[in-house]
């Protein structure tokens, strides 16, 4: 006892010193590894979050303009003899009156100097062809307007709208230097001033020429060298031409005093504005300039004491709105006739070839009808199948194969379901093409596996003790399931169904196969009417060349994302609210 009391009893186990340096280093390494792992996780989340943010920000930035439209407020003379010559207010007469003439007369009255045919057509093109329809609708709603003069907002065309959304050209305005003498000859104008009122503008033009010379010089330097003994005629000619152009441009740029004619296909346009008039400069010298009167002045012009020069940065031929278009629109804006308003039209009208008239109503209704068909078909089928497979079906080889195939169906590419729908619903059953009925059936096929799997999981999650309790008081198997198990599984089933529906709402490919990709103006009234759905509408618009459709595309994406957020949010809410922990 005395000699063993100091030594620990022999256990056969190895002792370990947790205070040793090696052990401490091991602990340190463990801490570092954990911190590193947490950092990786954080980085991954930030990375994903940044992507989502960029995506959403880009869509919102591009899509916001779609929710606003610009209109010009005109005083329309609703002449009874034009609209309703008989005075009996018959609906057919009112419907067929020439509203376009009323709108166009009022529109042209703003610019009486526009008489030439081509110019007049340009002017008229700034008003949307839908403006007359708006007026018709307003008059049919309230025939008492006939015979009055009313202020009416007239929808502008997409190009005019884009100009006010800042998508035509950058405009910079500077005050002119010194007084000008004006000589008007028809639409041609000559501006002269003591001193050198246009010197600054001319210098600006010359610096543009110098830049152009540099650009052409760089192009010249990139030309390949002539080959010894080869056929270099074309190359030599090109080189000679470019050399000549560079020399010419350098000479013009260097000579500060020579007048310059503006090349509207390559140079920014310059517009002199004064007294309500807009004069496009065609030839600029340091002391005088020649121009064209785009917008007539409010009074006779002879001398201008103060004037502005507006520069349209993009050359005219590189944009859809011409100098005249922009001058007209800016003049109206200066007169306070242009208003910006929320585009309810985007939600109330169907598709259109004219971007300013196109809306998502048709696609929204189409989506709603399609989803309705999908829900009606796949909720009872899916839940029924799940209840049968989970609670009633005998467990044998057949049900095993069935289960594997249901899980496989969930992974089948959606386009295959589209082809199946095409072959079965359209070709075999002869259902109407492009109809929400067929779209809904195809999407039901697509969503069915999702709902069955979600429902089975929800049923499985209900503890067997509940079923046993019901059986124990003398409920039959079916009563136990329908009275207790199914109601308890319902929140899970609903969550799965909503997620399935959100999936169906965003589905595009199978609907292309059954013809829901057609251009359809009318809003579908029934599930057998031709229609389209939101994602397909987005796909259609994204393909169109008009710039205004880019905003419409992004706007429609915003609406679709909004619906998806709401649906998925509802699913999460449902789960939070009713989920039961056993």
């Amino acid at each position: 006892m005395t000699d063993t009391s100091m030594a620990p009893p022999e256990t056969g186990l190895r002792t370990f010193d947790y205070g040793s340096d090696e052990a401490q280093a091991r602990v340190k390494r463990r801490y570092k590894a954990e911190a590193r792992f947490r950092l990786y996780g954080l980085l991954a989340v930030l990375f994903a979050g940044a992507f989502v943010f960029v995506l959403l920000a880009d869509i919102v930035r591009k899509g916001m303009p779609a929710f606003f439209e610009h209109r010009v407020v005109l005083t329309l003379d609703l002449d009874a003899s034009l609209i309703d010559p008989t005075g009996r207010r018959e609906i057919d007469v009112l419907r067929n009156a020439d509203y376009n003439k009323i709108v166009m007369d009022a529109w042209r009255a703003n610019f009486p100097e526009v008489t030439q045919r081509a110019e007049r057509r340009r002017l008229e093109a700034l008003v949307s062809s839908g403006a007359a329809d708006d007026l018709r609708t307003a008059i049919l709603r309230d025939p008492a307007l006939i015979g009055q003069k009313v202020r009416f907002p007239v929808l502008l065309s997409d190009d005019a709208d884009l100009h006010f959304k800042g998508l035509s050209t950058r405009i910079s305005s500077v005050p002119g230097a010194g007084a000008l003498d004006v000589k008007v000859n028809g639409r041609q104008v000559e501006l002269t001033g003591s001193g050198q009122p246009f010197a600054a503008i001319l210098a600006d033009v010359k610096s543009g020429l110098a830049q152009e010379a540099e650009r052409v010089g760089a192009e010249l330097a990139r030309l390949p060298a002539s080959q010894q003994g080869g056929n270099n005629a074309a190359l030599d000619a090109k080189r000679a031409e470019l050399t000549q152009r560079v020399a010419d441009l350098r000479r013009r740029a260097g000579d500060a005093a020579s007048a310059e004619a503006i090349d509207f296909s390559a140079m920014p346009s310059r517009i002199v504005r004064a007294e309500g008039a807009s004069i496009r400069l065609q030839e600029i010298g340091p002391g005088s300039a020649k121009g064209f009167l785009l917008v007539a002045p409010q009074r006779e012009l002879s001398r201008l004491d103060s004037w502005m020069v507006a520069t349209f940065a993009t050359p005219e031929s590189n944009r859809k709105a011409s100098d005249a278009d922009i001058s007209w629109l800016e003049t109206l804006k200066a007169r306070g006739l242009i208003e910006k308003a929320f585009a309810t039209r985007f939600f109330t009208s169907g598709d259109s070839r004219e971007p300013e008239q196109a809306g998502i109503r048709g696609a929204l209704i189409g989506s709603a009808l399609t989803l309705l068909v999908t829900l009606i078909v796949c909720l009872p089928l899916g839940v029924g199948a799940a209840v049968y497979l989970e609670e009633f079906a005998p467990k044998n080889r057949f049900t095993d194969i069935l289960e594997v195939n249901i899980n496989n169906l969930a992974a089948v590419p959606s386009i295959v379901f589209g082809l199946l729908g095409l072959a079965m619903f359209l070709n075999f059953f002869g259902l109407p093409r492009s109809a929400p009925l067929v779209g809904g059936l195809v999407l039901a096929l697509l969503v069915l596996p999702t709902i069955i799997i979600a429902s089975r999981a929800a049923l499985k999650a209900v503890p067997p003790s509940i079923k046993e309790a019901a059986l124990g008081v003398g409920a039959s198997h079916q009563q136990a399931i329908f009275h207790h198990v199914l109601p308890l599984a319902m929140p899970g089933i609903m969550t799965g169904t909503i997620i399935g529906m959100a999936h169906a709402l965003g589905e595009t490919a199978p609907l292309l196969m059954i013809g829901m990709v057609a251009f359809i103006v009318d809003i579908p009234q029934a599930i057998t009417d031709p229609g389209t759905v939101l994602p397909v509408q987005i796909y259609l618009w994204s393909d169109l060349p008009e710039v205004a459709f880019q905003a419409k595309t992004a706007g429609a994406i915003m609406v679709l994302l909004g619906f998806l957020f709401v649906m998925n949010g509802a699913a999460i809410l449902l789960r939070r609210r009713f989920e039961r922990r056993w």
Partner: protein
């Protein structure tokens, strides 16, 4: 409520089970797939008495209990042979309706499993299912009497519409007993009804079991030998799927005939 049973006998003094057998089992074998879970069990369960099944885990006592109301039918791989009769009628007769059998043979489970509904609905579910009440008044009466019978009414009378899952564990178990007796069964099977409860709740349930035996035939599976000794008049000891010994509780605990029984009740194995 009426509890149909013609036999009136003092349960504690039942000498031999054959005299007043409510449930009689003869050569019962149960297979779970390949596994022979219950081997040739023959036992008589007297009416209006508490019979307890004891034995180590996996000895087949719960399996046998679940044969008495054919709860094993819900397990696809389970196969039962032999004969079990209640009041002389074979309960495995194909012409017998298993749903009605389960109404006559109520069950209380190991873990309290009230429906996630109100206390009232928990008790009213069975009577409503079987059309026992003609109107709301009658149903109310059944619910109140059942809750009273299960010694729960005083605690819940002000909150009958609160969810049954909000009660304490012991209250939930008494609610389950109320639910079972609401459908007027003749036999009540209890599968370790106190194993999830604290000692105070356990004492209440035991007290309740003692009260209930004047009207019902009660079979209880328990792991606690003290509990078996306290509440039951007859005890059956199971071991490895066989019924080793069966007799009056007093005899089993004081003078077991089989060595295994003696080893078990003295705690030498388990």
């Amino acid at each position: 409520m009426s509890f149909a049973s013609p036999m009136i006998q003092e349960p504690a003094s039942v000498p031999e089970p054959a005299v007043a057998a409510k449930v009689a089992a003869r050569h019962v074998n149960v297979h779970y797939g390949e596994k022979h879970a219950l081997k040739d069990v023959s036992v008589d369960i007297p009416a209006r008495a508490v019979t307890s099944f004891i034995g180590p885990s996996g000895c087949g006592k719960s399996t046998f209990l679940r044969c008495i109301n054919r709860m094993n039918d819900t397990i696809p791989i389970c196969r039962v042979t032999g004969e079990i009769t209640i009041d002389g009628k074979d309960i495995y007769d194909p012409r017998l309706d298993v749903v009605l059998l389960r109404a006559r043979v109520g069950m209380v489970f190991q873990k309290p499993n009230p429906f996630p509904k109100s206390i009232y609905e928990n008790v009213a579910y069975g009577p409503r299912l079987h059309g026992m009440a003609k109107n709301k008044t009658e149903l109310d009466e059944i619910v109140v009497n059942s809750l009273k019978r299960a010694s729960l009414f005083e605690e819940v009378k002000d909150r009958l519409n609160d969810p049954g899952t909000g009660l304490s564990g012991g209250q939930q178990q008494r609610l389950c007993i109320a639910r079972a007796i609401a459908v007027s069964p003749e036999v009540i099977l209890m599968d370790e009804p106190c194993s999830a409860l604290d000692p105070i709740a356990t004492a209440k349930i035991e007290e309740l079991i003692d009260e209930l035996r004047s009207n019902f035939t009660i079979v209880i599976v328990t792991h606690s030998m003290q509990q078996a000794a306290r509440v039951s008049q007859r005890t059956a000891f199971f071991h490895l799927g066989s019924l080793v010994e069966e007799g009056s509780t007093e005899q089993i605990f004081t003078n077991p005939k089989d060595k295994r029984t003696q080893d078990y009740i003295t705690g030498r194995f388990g």
